[in-house]
Symmetry: C2
Subunit: 211 residues, 2 copies
Amino acid sequence: MSDSVSYTKLYLRPHQFLARENESQPAIYRILEGWAHRFRLLPDGRRQVTRLFLPGDYCEMEWAQNGRSREPIVALTNLRALRIECDDLLYALSKDHELEMKIWSKIVSSSYQLSEWITNLGRKTALERLSYLFCEIFERLRTINLTYDDQFVMPLTQTDLADITGLTSVHVNRTLKQMREKGLIELQSKWLRIVDMPELRKVALFQPEGR
Amino acid sequence: MSDSVSYTKLYLRPHQFLARENESQPAIYRILEGWAHRFRLLPDGRRQVTRLFLPGDYCEMEWAQNGRSREPIVALTNLRALRIECDDLLYALSKDHELEMKIWSKIVSSSYQLSEWITNLGRKTALERLSYLFCEIFERLRTINLTYDDQFVMPLTQTDLADITGLTSVHVNRTLKQMREKGLIELQSKWLRIVDMPELRKVALFQPEGR
DNA sequence: CGGGTTATTGATTCGGTTCAAATCGAGTGG
DNA sequence: CCACTCGATTTGAACCGAATCAATAACCCG
């Protein structure tokens, strides 16, 4: 994009809000480092994560279109992000058709991910959901070189995992135990090692993007 | 759009495919009449509907971007649709910035709906899910004048409802019974009457688009 | 250290599934 | 007009995956 635009950076600590629900958003953010999540909160406190943001992801392209966040976004770790004014982005888009197609493509592919999770939540067991999640995270981190052989830093707590997979943290705990016993994964002090990737994929009913 | 473009129509019967999984799609379709659904099928036969298409909806804007369907789409009723060539659409978009924004907005809002269903499937009970579904369908049909007072034609079978809500058809049946007993709805021979809309919305934790 | 999340485990309950069978209902053909 | 069929609905009984409740242990960080 044009070098006349100056970027400002955003730093957040865990639990800090990147965006509130239904809030005006004049800018989007490109995550440089750290994890964040978008979620919905029901009146009685039930919580469901609707998207996980990893380095390289944008929060959120949609804001360029309607200028408004629909769901809160909160940092899960220390977070470093690049702020991009929607006006600048839209101007750049109007000049650069390639870029515009790239943005479209990102929105479409994130909508494809949502669809995947509808299937996970509607039809899969706890074991399948967690396995799928780990496969997905591994693939996403791998494309940005944040995996180290068969392992990566996995900062999510079991409560976070529960809110992503639509389970309780207690059941996540028991299912993780089961996955360790099956020799699928090793997980300790925020490092996840995938011991048997072929088997994990099979259990998860995971098929990589292209299919 | 330009009058130099001639539209062809598509007619389908129930169970006929509008699109197969991972198939090249040179055109999108605007549904004029009837219902369709997009779904994912797991190897062992578990099925999850990922989107419901009603009159006025497009199948699917995303194809204009990547020219490929990711999931099958099948007609639920007799279906009448308008075929729009992607090339024509893209040409129209490049000429008409207003139109382009409208398309964006449709994709964004459908991605918002997916997010809503992730919450429904991850965190809501059978009663809440079905109530939500009926609220949503009612609202969508109302905006296109296909509701008649507090009722509308609801062609979905209980198996369809199960595949949308991530339940079994047996449990859908029991939950519908419960909804009738609570005085929320009346449902017979494909007509659904919403008896107590305020209460149905409350049960569903449904908040209309704007919030 | 000390205090507060986070993880682990057991006992019990419950929402929803599974399996099976009976009933209803809308065509279809004789 | 009735017998037949096939899908859709309804209901019962038994089961199971996951939730809930509760208590303890481990970990992390200031």
